[in-house]
């Protein structure tokens, strides 16, 4: 399903975090959202799964405003892999993944055979089947991330939102995650920190700086030294072969002219 964000402005406690951002994600494509910390990536994504309502603008999935849908309809349309489940009362991995079926079922009753098969499938795909009986709180950060992906997969929504999915993951699981996500065939929007993952796996990359879209296009056209310098204030060079490019980063060289720390002022400085 096609996703359109039109002129989306989001305010959090009265302050605009995202300013009139517009972007289109074609059905079945994978779009990477990149930008420095605090640039508004997560906030923009949160409008998609309705954790926040835009102050202005619309969020359309398949031409329908997600904020006009019922909560359950929206959850059947957009699934999200959240950063970390916060549970004071712990669930098992299997129970947590089963929650992905909640939008499809009434709030009571037993789990259907279908649900169990879908959950089983999602867990096997992500490789957390052997963790099924473990309590979520006892897992490592990376394992927890994968369980959250399994839950999002079990939700079987046509649009998948990933908020920094590669956090805590070792390199193998980072690549595996992106491969799984690519292979789903659903529309994917992912906030990514790793620009090389964006370069390697995304159909398009959108750069967000201070809540404004700076660049939008195919990865090799967007992830240039100029754009990266403007967005992240680092030097970037493209290495590797043409068909398998890799970005290397270095701190900006003109950063040596840092201001000296100011001396502590004490009352001894007072001169009559």
């Amino acid at each position: 399903m096609r996703v359109d964000l039109e002129d989306v402005t989001v305010a959090i406690s009265g302050k605009d975090i995202v300013h009139a951002a517009s972007l289109t994600v074609e059905s079945g494509s994978v779009v990477g959202l990149i930008g420095p910390n605090g640039s508004g990536k997560s906030t923009l994504l949160r409008t998609l799964y309705r954790a926040v309502r835009p102050r202005k603008g619309t969020v359309l999935v398949d031409g329908i405003d997600v904020h006009a849908l019922s909560a359950r309809e929206a959850a059947r349309t957009v699934a999200v892999m959240l950063q970390d489940p916060q549970t004071d009362f712990d669930l098992t991995v299997h129970e947590l993944v089963l929650l992905g079926r909640a939008p499809h079922r009434a709030s009571f009753g037993r789990d259907s055979a279908d649900d169990l098969r879908i959950v089983d499938d999602a867990m096997r795909r992500v490789g957390v089947t052997s963790l099924a009986d473990r309590m979520v709180a006892t897992l490592s950060g990376g394992q927890r991330q994968r369980v959250m992906l399994a839950r999002a997969l079990a939700q079987q929504a046509p649009v998948l939102v990933l908020d920094e999915p590669s956090n805590h993951l070792d390199i193998r699981h980072q690549l595996e995650l992106m491969t799984i996500v690519r292979g789903l065939g659903c529309t994917v929007i992912a906030a990514l920190h790793d620009l090389n993952l964006a370069l390697q796996y995304c159909d398009r990359v959108v750069v967000l700086v201070d809540g404004r879209i700076l660049a939008d296009g195919p990865p090799d056209a967007v992830l240039t030294g100029d754009v990266i310098r403007t967005a992240f204030a680092v030097e970037a060079r493209l290495l590797g072969e043409r068909e398998d490019p890799v970005l290397a980063f270095r701190a900006l060289s003109d950063r040596r002219t840092l201001t000296a720390p100011s001396r502590t002022r004490t009352e001894r400085d007072i001169r009559p």
Binding site: Y49, S70, A74, P85, D88, E95, L99, G127
Partner: protein
């Protein structure tokens, strides 16, 4: 990745079976305790006679009701004193435990209990006002009604204070509840200290909780609230599981956290208010029974809620039976007994390995 299996993995099945087994045992215990409670007291009644009396009142035309095998005194003791009391203990235990479980997930805090939102301190103000000033001074309200109004008002105050920008935040709910609870307690304390000495015992009895004043009509409120609570909660079980994983996560699963929280708040205050207004501030049940249920069958509400309701009822009926018998003919207030029996049991349970599975190791 693991090998393909034809059957879906089903780790929950073992716990489901355990839930069914424990619930069956608790249901049998509930019936046994009801009969036993009706057979214990000053007027000698055998358990068989107690059962006969109860059945005889429920079903017409039982031979033993008219053949003289039961004296009118026995009939009176069982039907008008012991049965309402046992049932009130059951309803109160079930209601408070359910309210506790709902509050714990509402504010996502293991320390939450039915009274955390100031419901009992609100009820106390109402009840103590009637005890101290007399019913006429507060518009002719009975103690029970005044207590219920106090409970509902306290809860409404907390909801108003915790609500901001259309959202009910758990932290604000807890803090507003604690702050308002302290305020109401201060009012109760002032009323208590400034009244005649003879009233103090009555106040204390209410604050500690007791089911000794139970009549058949006093059961109506808690019974209706419990029925509503059980039905609504069972329909909400999956949404409660979703809420447990955080607001943002719940939203992404199609659950509106604020709307659900508001509903839970109403449900919990109704359950607590109706119980407190007739049985006073019985502590401990609402905090501990939900945790025991989680230790036994895990945190999934579809399993832990039935256990919580039945477990709460059994626990309080047992506590009341002990309250009447251990120091007979003197009666120990129920609140004291629940803590005396419950605290050591819970501490023992908490230190076992099974508790770590329920998240106690963190």
């Amino acid at each position: 990745m693991s090998s393909t299996s034809l059957t879906a993995v089903r780790p929950g099945r073992r716990l489901e079976r355990r839930t069914a087994a424990i619930c069956t045992v608790l249901a049998i215990a509930l019936v046994a305790l009801t009969v036993l409670s009706c057979a214990v007291g000053v007027v000698a009644v055998t358990p068989v006679q107690a059962a006969q009396t109860i059945i005889g009142h429920l079903l017409p035309g039982m031979p033993w009701m008219s053949d003289g095998s039961l004296t009118p005194l026995q009939d009176q003791a069982v039907w008008h004193f012991r049965l309402p009391r046992a049932l009130l203990a059951g309803f109160a235990g079930a209601g408070l435990a359910l309210a506790g479980a709902l509050m714990q997930v509402t504010v996502r805090n293991p320390l939450a209990e039915p009274y955390i939102l100031g419901v009992s301190s609100g009820a106390s103000v109402g009840a103590v006002a009637v005890i101290v000033w007399g019913s006429a001074a507060v518009g002719g309200l009975s103690l029970n009604i005044a207590a219920f109004i106090g409970a509902v008002l306290a809860c409404a105050c907390v909801a108003v204070m915790a609500q901001k920008d259309g959202a009910l935040s758990p932290t604000r709910m807890i803090l507003a509840g604690v702050a308002l609870g302290t305020l109401f307690s201060a009012i109760t304390s002032y009323l208590t200290i400034s009244t005649d000495a003879q009233n103090v015992v009555g106040v204390l009895f209410f604050l500690l909780g007791s089911v000794s004043a139970a009549t058949m009509s006093s059961l109506i409120g808690p019974a209706i609230a419990l029925a509503c609570g059980v039905i609504v909660a069972s329909f909400l079980a999956r949404s409660l599981n979703a809420l447990m994983t955080g607001d943002e996560s719940a939203t992404s699963l199609g659950v509106n956290p604020t709307r659900l929280r508001a509903l839970l708040l109403i449900l919990a205050s109704l359950l607590t208010g109706t119980v407190v207004s007739v049985a006073g501030g019985i502590g401990f049940v609402g905090l501990v029974i939900p945790h025991i249920a989680r230790i036994a069958v895990g945190a999934d509400h579809r399993r832990m809620l039935p256990l919580t309701v039945l477990g709460g009822a059994v626990f309080l009926m047992l506590a009341d039976l002990l309250a009447r018998t251990v120091a007979a003919p003197t009666e120990i207030p129920l609140g004291i007994l629940t803590a005396f029996v419950g605290a050591p049991f819970f501490l023992w349970l908490m230190r076992r390995n099974g508790a770590d599975r329920a998240g106690f190791g963190r």
